[in-house]
Symmetry: C2
Subunit: 437 residues, 2 copies
């Protein structure tokens, strides 16, 4: 059985673009893991009529489950609970036991902020204990409780899960609801789990994959039984296939077909990212990494240290944004910079070696490029990035790429290219999959 | 006159959470600058019925303008143009002149990818030249053209602007459409521009602002004539107010009221970010900055170098993720680390001084903390971060905070606290606005 579901993200700050929504995508992933198909994510402002119409739209779309995020705070523009109550025809009531529990949560916070008027805080937060009668309460992770509200016995429409806006409150509360809410369990009963597999390629244009999919179909693979989406992400092409378990052989045939045609550029067929692969390769070899980065200004180090445990393989990094820093930290010869320029093959090599030496690492990475908007010349255009990776044992890979896009794109894509260059070096391969643009 | 508008973001990769949408928020901001109110952002998959229903929803919401993103690529799952044509009752036709222009764009790309089958590319991309009859073409920025399609003369419904998915294609194309599309200009004719102002505060809980807004109302300020939203972002509280120009005096009264009550924590009333203020302060004084960061692993350097021109004030940074790196790069005494631990006041101070010295900068910043999930102890809990800022002239500010959330939250919020500490030092103030958590 397939259950349709939808997500309503509320918040004028999200609708107006000031805050980037992380909850919609996260909840969408959670639903898919449960085998539930999200039909849409709606982002609306804090205005009750807009929230109400979003709920009606998803109900009309046949959703049996709707998740809402945001609008549970203490301020007057937080009205999600009220709207959900009205939508389901439930009366709003003050839950005094819940009010007491929220007051307990607030007590230490009030103590920490010496200038706070405790009365104002409690008034602000009493509102958070007013809930639609008969809804299940999800205990606060921060200060706001969530709700699971099934349609009334004589009504139809979706079961609504009301979650807070801050991701660090929403995520544990969602897991708690899954574990313990009878109403949510009832809404999810009987769903079938689809499988989802991903192929990741680097150094190939998306149109080439489109041609391969057509060729696969012509060769007799029944790809109409698979739901395939391809997209470009951070310079990689991702091919994601969702299918019912009985179509596993069709997917295996497709994956084999892609592997045969794109063996050099296909770097992942098991969901792993290049970040994970680089970590595993270093970890497996007991080796460490250090970087010296100019145009990326710290992004490569930040990406390498995103995962817990990265301290086992990442020694550290030099952010050598200025030429002086290249000299002072990475021991690049200033005469070399004067002769060939900071964005050059030679300086990339010197940065890789300098990082490796300064941090006594096994592998060094150097990145130097023109992220723009200034600094480009005819010979060194915007987006030109030189990258070098060197190993303590003498191996080295050095390449230039010219990346499309603006400053943020060039900086971000450079980190992807750097990771692939490290991966190639660690696999002992040549670097022919580093594409020219 | 108020024009209602909506945004449809298409793409299964976005709906399923694999790719984070940047276009919806960006377009929302663009619309607001034009005085147009976005009523909703809908994220839907690549399935034509879902896209069609999203268009119908926004039409029913009274939108005179709908922007779509994505689904213009060469693959078979890119169907936005077809759906828009069907929605407006326009026939789909191959525009041969456009096909020729796309072929021109593809020629150098085909040359760059030696293994590419040129025929496959051209077939894949012919599809991109099939457009609804009578729609205005927006010339490709990448390879995909966009469209502006007004309702047919005998129809009603919104004018639809069809834009590509990659932000670096979408953004210039939107500006080009604004500059040159008669149909878009007609849809926007006569809108009034709202004003939008923002107050930013640091070191104060959101509930305190809610209390202040209630107090402002009680004091007689007609805040019901303003549309006020507050939100927490990266550890700061933002109060955004939208209002019609004739309510400027009411807004001025509100801003004055907030300034009076929260003078110590209000750091921006003109839209500037703390990043911009730190840059301006350094630039104005002709001073430079260097950082040594442990738990943030490069994020602080990356944030400082996000803006073009940052090389004028940012000398560089040390990513001292391992203890060895703290010693080797920032010259922290290993005996000190052994005695007090890497996450400590003393090491934060040593990192700030070490960064300043190693990079010969005027201001040094040191950050060391426990981002988790491992490494916490009872005395040093998850989220504990020590920060220090030191100036060449001997001034210094050092503080610890205990930040809420997971690894990514702690890392990100630490960069905000660091910037505020730098700002306080540069303003010559004490550091009493650095909140405890």
């Amino acid at each position: 059985m397939s259950v349709r579901a939808g997500i309503v993200v509320t918040g004028t700050e999200v609708l107006t673009g000031r805050v980037h929504d992380r909850n919609g995508p996260w909840l969408s992933e959670q639903l898919q893991r449960l085998g539930v198909d999200p039909v849409a994510i709606l982002v609306v402002g804090d205005r009750p009529p807009d929230i109400l119409r979003a709920l009606r739209f998803l109900a009309a779309e046949g959703c049996a489950l709707v998740l809402t995020t945001g609008g549970l705070g203490p301020t007057a523009d937080d009205l999600t609970v009220e709207v959900v109550g009205r939508f389901q025809g439930r009366e709003l009531v003050l839950d005094e036991a819940l009010e007491g529990r929220i007051a307990e949560i607030l007590r230490p916070m009030i103590a920490r902020w010496p200038d706070l008027d405790p009365e104002a805080v409690l008034t602000s937060n009493r509102k958070q204990a007013v809930i639609p009668a008969g809804a299940e309460i999800l205990e606060p992770v921060g200060t706001a409780p969530g709700l699971v509200a099934a349609p009334l016995a004589d009504g139809d429409g979706p079961t609504i899960v009301v979650l807070p806006g801050p991701p660090r409150e929403l995520q544990p509360m969602w897991h708690a609801a899954l574990a313990a809410s009878p109403a949510l369990r009832a809404a999810l009963s009987g769903v079938i789990e689809y499988r989802r597999d991903m192929l990741r390629l680097f150094g190939i244009p998306e149109s080439e994959i489109a041609a391969t999919l057509r060729a696969a179909e012509q060769s007799g693979i029944a790809i109409d039984r698979l739901e395939i989406t391809t997209c470009l992400r951070r310079g990689e092409v991702e091919v994601v296939t969702r299918y019912e378990p009985e179509q596993a052989a069709v997917y295996a045939a497709l994956a084999g077909f892609v592997r045969e045609r794109h063996g050099r550029t296909l770097f992942s067929d098991d969901g792993t990212t290049v970040d994970e692969q680089v970590f595993a390769l270093l970890h497996g070899a007991g080796e460490t990494l250090a970087v010296a980065e100019s145009c990326t200004g710290g992004l490569l180090s930040a990406r390498l240290t995103e995962r817990p445990g990265s301290s086992e393989v990442v020694r550290g990094g030099l952010v050598v944004y200025s030429d002086d820093a290249k000299v002072a930290l990475a021991r690049v010869d200033p005469a070399l910079i004067a002769r060939v320029g900071a964005v050059s093959q030679e300086v990339a090599v010197a940065l890789a070696d300098g990082a490796r030496t300064a941090l006594d690492a096994d592998v060094g990475v150097g990145v130097t490029g023109i992220a723009g908007p200034g600094g480009a010349t005819k010979a060194k255009p915007l987006g030109l990035v030189w990258l070098s990776v060197s190993h303590r044992d003498g191996r080295r890979l050095t390449r230039s790429v010219t990346l499309p896009g603006g400053r943020a794109d060039v900086r971000d894509r450079s980190t992807t290219v750097a990771l692939h260059l490290v991966r190639r070096l660690l696999l002992g391969g040549d670097d022919d999959v580093i594409a020219p643009g």
